[in-house]
Amino acid sequence: MPAAGGGRAGSGPLRQRGTRRLQGAPPASALSPRPPAGWRAALGLVTLLSFASRFHRLPEPPHVCWDETHFGKMGSYYINRTFFFDVHPPLGKMLIGLAGYLSGYDGTFPFQKPGDRYEQHNYMGMRGFCAFLGSCLVPFAYLTVLELSKSLPAALLTAFILIFDTGCITLSQYILLDPILMFFLMGAVLSMVKCNSCADRPFSASWWLWLSLTGVNLAGAMGVKFVGLFVVLLVGLNTIYDLWDLLGDLNLSLVMFGKHFLARVLCLILLPLTLYMAMFAVHFAVLNKSGPGDGFFSSAFQSQLIGNNLHNVSIPEHLAYGSVVTMKNLRMAGGYLHSHWHLYPEGVGARQQQVTAYLHKDLNNLWIIKKHDSNTADLSDSSSPVEFVRHGDIIRLEHKETSRNLHSHQHEAPLTRKHFQVTGYGINGTGDSNDFWRIEVVGRRTGKLIKVLRSKIRLMHVATGCILGSTGKTLPKWGWEQVEVTCTPYVKETPNSLWNFEDHINPKLPNISLDVLKPSFAEILLESHMVMIRGNSGLKPKDNEVTSKPWHWPINYQGLRFSGVNETDYRVYLLGNPVVWWLNLFTIGLYLLIAISTAVALKRGVQLTSEHKELSRVVLCGGGQVALGWLLHYLPFFMMGRVLYFHHYFPAMLFSSMLTGITWDTLLKFFSQFLSPSTKARRVYGVGILALILLIMYSFYLFHPLSYGMIGPMASDPSSPMAGLRWMDSWEF
């Protein structure tokens, strides 16, 4: 129910205080127009059109398209309750999984690669769910613009832009995170705007409703992708502005201000945080079986997964000479100590065998513990007594697969030049004195035994006094992009240089069931975030690879192939409707011009009529909020080092479309007012808006095969339906 009760609705952050007294007064002034008549009917129309355009030909093509292979697969993981690792927070994939589950999908389709046919598997539930959320964007944008500009044509223009944008349609029709993300994002913006317009009735039911809805949507947006952070920023800035405004209102007692403040803390910080954590709680509760993501997490975490070798583990408890072990770094998302036959390349320290940290479980992670001075403690020799390793012992670690010893020397480590290089050295376990390490348990005295999993140990290199650690830096190609392992001369107690023993094989010792220390929820949460952040920053573009650049996006420079390459394929190409996108781009420039001239005019104290005042308010407040949203969702991408794709621009595109609606509406109103007060003015205005809408619809008619599928020859062929529409060489259809 937008703007319930009329009143002073639609005030942006620059609203004038003191109008509070207007409460209950008839909303007659030009500053507070009531919602335009017919907005409900128009809402119905755009919603209908939106749903129709998104659900049209939804089942086509009946094979896996583009990133469906990831997100569909992850949806299946939830249905199968298998643990996996992804760089995005879990909400989006959980919802996909839920939609699949409710619609009768059983999670058996493997989603191996794009182009795989779905056959009898029920994929429509998941696609339908995404399309449903994608369809909601249009009414949301419509209501937001209506609230900001109080102008039905502006809202309609925005809605039509979004309905008839081929990019938005395509992006909403597949099993992807983007429609879900954009749903929450627009939801947050809408509730924020609605809440702002309830500002004259603070603490009323609708105020509370919209404020808490903002919080809920923020949690949702953050829970789908970290890009949701930008909308959090937008809402945060708006809230700070709002509070600053309230603080300046001397009629408001400090107690009241405190209430305002606490209400916002409650709804915009505590509520979203709780929801966000709840999401993770559900995520971990659902995924209780071991799966492909185990190795990214600590031993303690893994012990909670059914089917993991650490779940209800039964291994020898105390470490003995001759045991075969794996060592896991205690840093968040630290890997297993690893080595392989490959050598360090020329110019990187000594040309010996590489030692790295590796996140996946692998046979090359196995090491044998031996005494430093003898090779006797062989597993084969069953007669010899078992000798336990004790705190302070000097040991040698032999790599099981290659029979080389863990070795360090005073050469620079490959990336961290201040540290020493760690290598695999020697043949069949015979090396030199640089292979000796003193094993120490944190906080123990000499002679104590060492416990598997529970003891935090460190390995001190006897000859140089440095400590074995993992720096967390990714090695270049020669190191297979595994993590660097070094020996650090700085003796500090950081998780980087602490390890625990995870697997432990020693047939001479009895297996004992161990209850590994259960990690608390906070620890799990922190750990999974560290892993996600590391994963995200690891997505770096490769050399000589053509990647999408942020400046490509607003000019619709290049799209993404969703399905099909060849002439006979059913081809879908994610590309914005060029007319719409170029209109948006042009409008951003236009808006800047208008906003600057308006601001200067106001600052110079130009006398304005009440209509002009209202227009300038819409431009500066309404337009300003939306323009800020666009900036916040676009500019940060210029600073990101990770691989970027065209679809990252779509949240910003939503804001840009809203800006287009507001700007053109204002501009046309402004020009038609020159012709006022005749009916001609209204006609010019109406014709202008109508012309824009018709232009958009016609361009959609031209470009609709991009979303609804192209079969037949490519656009370069004159007989193709898309012939003559390849306006830019970089478009690939």
Binding site: W244, L247, G248, L250, L254, E412, P414, L415, T416, R417, K418, Y490, D543, N544, V546, Y557, Q558, V565, V600, K603, R604, G605, M639, G641, S730, E732
Partner: protein, 724 residues
């Protein structure tokens, strides 16, 4: 007529002795024993190379920044009569007698010394007391890290000098604004702001941050002027234009002029040539120009050419083929066509020559008159030595299985037809009928049968391919990428009909008579682009640090170590000053927030003019610190402690500001005031003490092991202690 003689000629001089004394002290502290140590210190090893290249007029590319800083250092060398003959190979190497160490280090040291009076003036212009100004100047004077950094052939002190100069001139300009707009002084300081900004940017790109800050402040001040209803629209436009001219147009022009001087000075070819395009190389004296001079401009059917990949990464290379074939099976079991290898080879070689052939004709010589090849023409490329045709087909490339293999076609009489037609697409064409030009045209070869594009994949082939670079046919050519673009470098019109003669011809050097000149703007754009995009291997340096370490000075840099005695020079700040500067920043922020919130509730703790001073001081000092510090958190390059020095300078200026404010507004009673003054004296003596303590490692005085151990106040400091 002689009326002007009625009044006596009077010269009134006002000399601020404070300033004079401070300048002298600054000069002493920075210039004292400047040529000690007579050895290469830290980054001198890096900048010195460039100075030498300037002396020898050899072209180079330095990706670390624009050329003004290097040119100023080179100016020092020029004035000292340096001939450029020194091998800058390692830190600590003794300078030979021909190196004028003193004059090379003089300019940075002078700039460092002049920062002290500048700091004084800035505080005065911010309308703080002379006492506070004196404090600021003394703190800068006694800052060990600034001293160390100024005393060697490094750029930071010059950068800081220009930054402070820009700030000072803007403040002078702004203070003149109120009474005498458009006066001589007003213009002078405004102009100086722009010039100093462009110099700062010209020394290091870091200067851009301060430039942006000043632009923002100027914009804000202009915005306030807009609200002044007494000013007419016309005068506002004049103000706006004056600012636009001096703060935007002139800096850009100056920046261009730095490059102009740079490119004029360096006209000889040198070690970094191959980074640049062939056209650029051809414009340098020696090097490629020697080869390419006098080549025919237009590529014609029958032309003999070498094709260079435009990308130049991982190294420059030319399209190459040799008689060896692709192995039948690769290590991973995939098969190949077993045809002749086509690679990209990073050295000049006779096997880099190709002949452009018209598919419709048999001859491999240029007809008379030559028939030029145009955009869109279909050609065959014949390898000169083996006379095999460049070919690609639907076989996976050796290292990039998603792309097509490119080979020189051998007819094995199996069902694999020759597919050797290529369409020439000139990327930088002006019209669709453009002629393919030597060096200038950037060309894509599109395979006619499969529409694959000839591309350098960047991977280097295994042993069977002699580690040369892989060339593939890219099927999904996603837009424009330089790895798909080639240009003709060497070129001649082929005359020999017979293969034997042709081989002799290919081995002989090309003829030459004309040179191709690039315009300055074309050269500038290319050089600027290379500077911005060139990436060095970002391996970590022994003394690199993260931005977070700088605030607390958890890191240092050892600049130099005497080979026998324990004397060493470190970049290490005055611990006391760094801590106080941090405290000042915190106090400033908290107090400002407190005032701001209270003012919002209409409670005014301090008088309005004091508040304005407080705010404008914060804009400069806190703003300067923020813009010069925070961006480093977003940077992915190797960072060093000296990157923090500009930010630190601004933070130091904040200390006296906060102290004066505290004493003026918070110490109400006489007693508390005198207590406060006593505290300040105590604090200042501790600053002096810290300076004294660390001055041995600032100036490189010999120290015993015990003394060195005593200096290691923090465990993370890397003070070099020789093992006994």
């Amino acid at each position: 007529m002689l009326g002007f003689l009625k009044n006596p000629v009077v010269v009134t001089a006002e000399i601020n002795l404070n300033l004079v004394v401070l300048t002298v002290m600054g000069l002493i502290s920075r210039l004292w024993g400047l040529s000690y140590p007579r050895a290469v210190v830290f980054d001198e090893v890096y900048y010195g190379q460039f100075v030498s290249l300037y002396m020898k007029r050899i072209f180079f590319v330095d990706d670390s920044g624009p050329p003004l800083g290097h040119m100023l250092l080179a100016l020092g060398g020029y004035l000292g009569g340096f001939d450029g003959n020194f091998l800058w190979n390692r830190i600590g190497a003794e300078y030979s007698m021909n190196v004028p160490v003193w004059s090379l280090r003089f300019l940075p040291a002078l700039a460092g010394a002049l920062c002290i009076p500048l700091a004084y003036q800035i505080l005065v212009e911010l309308q703080f007391s002379h006492c506070a100004a004196l404090g600021a100047a003394l703190l800068i004077l006694l800052e060990n890290s600034l001293i160390t950094q100024s005393r060697f052939m490094l750029l930071e002190s010059i950068l800081i000098f220009f930054i402070l100069l820009a700030v000072l001139s803007y403040l002078k300009f702004y203070n003149l604004q109120r009474h005498s707009s458009f006066s001589g002084g007003w213009w002078f300081w405004l102009l100086l702001t722009g010039v100093a900004c462009s110099c700062a940017v010209g020394v290091k790109y870091m200067g851009l941050f301060t430039y942006m800050l000043l632009l923002a402040i100027a914009g804000l001040h202009f915005w306030h002027m807009l609200g002044d209803r007494n000013l007419s629209n016309v005068s506002l436009v004049c103000h706006f234009l004056a600012r636009g001219l001096t703060l935007l147009v002139i800096p850009v022009a100056m920046y261009l002029s730095f490059f102009f001087v740079h490119l004029t000075l360096l006209y000889r070819s040198g070690p970094h040539d191959q980074i640049m395009t062939s056209a650029f190389q051809a414009s340098l004296e020696g090097g490629l120009a020697r080869i390419t001079q006098g080549q025919p401009l237009e590529v014609a059917y029958g032309s003999q050419i070498t094709l260079r990949n435009v990308l130049g990464k991982p190294m420059q290379c030319w399209l190459h083929s040799h008689t060896n074939t692709y192995p039948i099976r690769y290590e991973n079991g995939r098969g190949s066509s077993h045809q002749q290898q086509v690679t990209c080879y990073p050295f000049k070689d006779v096997n880099n020559w190709w002949i452009v052939k018209d598919p419709g004709m048999q001859q491999l010589v240029v007809s008379n008159p030559p028939r030029p090849v145009r955009h869109g023409h279909i050609v065959q490329l014949v390898h000169g030595i083996t006379t095999r045709y460049l070919n690609t087909h639907d076989v996976a490339a050796p290292l990039s299985p998603h792309s097509q293999e490119v080979s020189c076609y051998i007819d094995y009489n199996i069902s694999m037809p020759a597919q050797n037609l290529w369409r020439v697409e000139i990327v930088n064409r002006e019209s669709d009928t453009d002629v393919w030009k030597t060096i200038l045209s950037e060309v894509r070869f599109v395979h006619v049968n499969t529409s694959a594009v000839l591309k350098l994949s960047g991977a280097s082939l295994p042993e069977w391919g002699y580690r040369q670079l892989e060339v593939v046919g890219e099927k999904l050519s996603k837009g424009y990428h330089q790895s798909m673009v080639w240009n003709v470098e060497e070129h001649r019109y082929g005359k020999s009909q017979e293969q034997k003669e042709r081989e002799v011809e290919l081995h002989s050097p090309t003829r030459m008579d004309i040179s191709k000149n690039l315009s300055f703007m074309a050269k500038f754009t290319e050089l600027q682009w290379k500077i911005l995009t060139l990436k060095n291997e970002d391996t970590e340096h022994k003394y690199s640090s993260s931005a977070l370490d700088w605030i607390t000075m958890d890191t240092n840099i050892a600049y130099w170590l005497h080979p026998t005695s324990g004397a060493q020079i470190h970049l290490l700040g005055n611990v006391c000053t760094w801590a106080s500067a941090n405290i000042a920043a915190v106090v400033y922020t908290c107090l400002s927030l407190w005032y701001l919130i209270r003012r919002r509730r209409k409670i005014y703790d301090i008088p309005e003019d004091a508040w304005q001073l407080w705010v404008s001081a914060g804009q400069i000092c806190v703003g300067g610190w923020v813009v010069n510090y925070l961006p480093f958190f977003l940077m992915e390059k190797t960072l060093f402690l000296y990157h923090y020095l500009p930010a630190l300078t601004f933070q130091i200026l904040l200390i006296p500001i906060v102290l004066q404010h505290l004493s003026d507004h918070l110490c109400r009673s006489l007693l508390s005031k005198s207590m406060f003054n006593a505290l300040i004296v105590a604090w200042f003596s501790s600053v002096c003490f810290a300076y004294r303590t660390f001055s041995p490692v600032t100036y490189g005085e010999p120290l015993s092991v015990a003394e060195l151990k005593d200096l290691r106040w923090k465990d993370s400091w890397n003070i070099l202690i020789r093992k006994q």
